[in-house]
Symmetry: C2
Subunit: 137 residues, 2 copies
């Protein structure tokens, strides 16, 4: 559903949202806790900085924190820069333009489901995900 990288991004943001309320969270800490390759995660979270999702501080006692309150940060903002998911329309059969008018075979049935998925990404906040359950190690 999500690319590996997008999944890393989401897990990292959830980690920051949970542990970074009163301090900065370091990449090494996240990488260890979430079992994600360190430098790869570094690149990934830096991309989130460029996207305005995270803020980074360099140098000693540096780290990351949310750039947006968790209850105003939507999953799509975290995930969209990587895998193309959560974004606009999405034809099951991969047709470039597949709308209600020029429908592909799968369109009518699939649309109902695809809309649900899109709603989830666009309408769910990081805060809501954290409420769902405690985050295990």
């Amino acid at each position: 559903m999500l690319s590996q990288t997008a999944e890393y991004a989401l897990r990292a943001v959830l980690y920051v949202a949970e542990h970074g309320t009163d301090r900065l969270v370091q990449v090494t800490e996240m990488a260890t806790a979430l079992r994600i390759p360190r430098n790869y995660l570094s690149k990934t979270v830096h991309a989130l900085v460029r996207e305005g999702v995270l803020l980074s501080t360099r140098g000693k006692s540096g780290g990351f924190r949310l750039a947006v309150p968790a209850d105003r940060l939507y999953v799509v903002q975290v995930v969209a820069p990587f895998g193309s998911l959560g974004e606009g329309r999405h034809c099951l059969l991969g047709r470039p333009q597949c709308s209600d008018r020029t429908a592909c075979a799968a369109h009518a049935k699939w649309k109902l489901v695809a809309d649900r998925v899109a709603e989830f990404f666009r309408g769910t906040t990081i805060a809501e995900l954290l409420q769902g359950a405690a985050v295990p190690a």
Copy 2:
């Protein structure tokens, strides 16, 4: 949502279901009509033969036909051998075992959506997709 290969497989099966009711459909014909690389499609549809979705006949005037009536052939059967989608459990955060009991952060909210997706793949037949709309070239 689907891997390229899984999408090819689904489009090919839809094509066979539509055009193969009273004759065999050849790979070259499908590849041309659906604009899919010929040999790659050949490999893909052959995998569907092994899976019991299609039947193949070799030699002159050979080709493919459905191994199962379109109204008893479910999308998951076509798609599962390729991308891992449509299959059983699916945690948004990629945890190997993520159920209602050991829930990850995203689980509760995501489950509602993921169940819908799984239902679509498991509960929708090829025949239903064909009813959805005419298949353009």
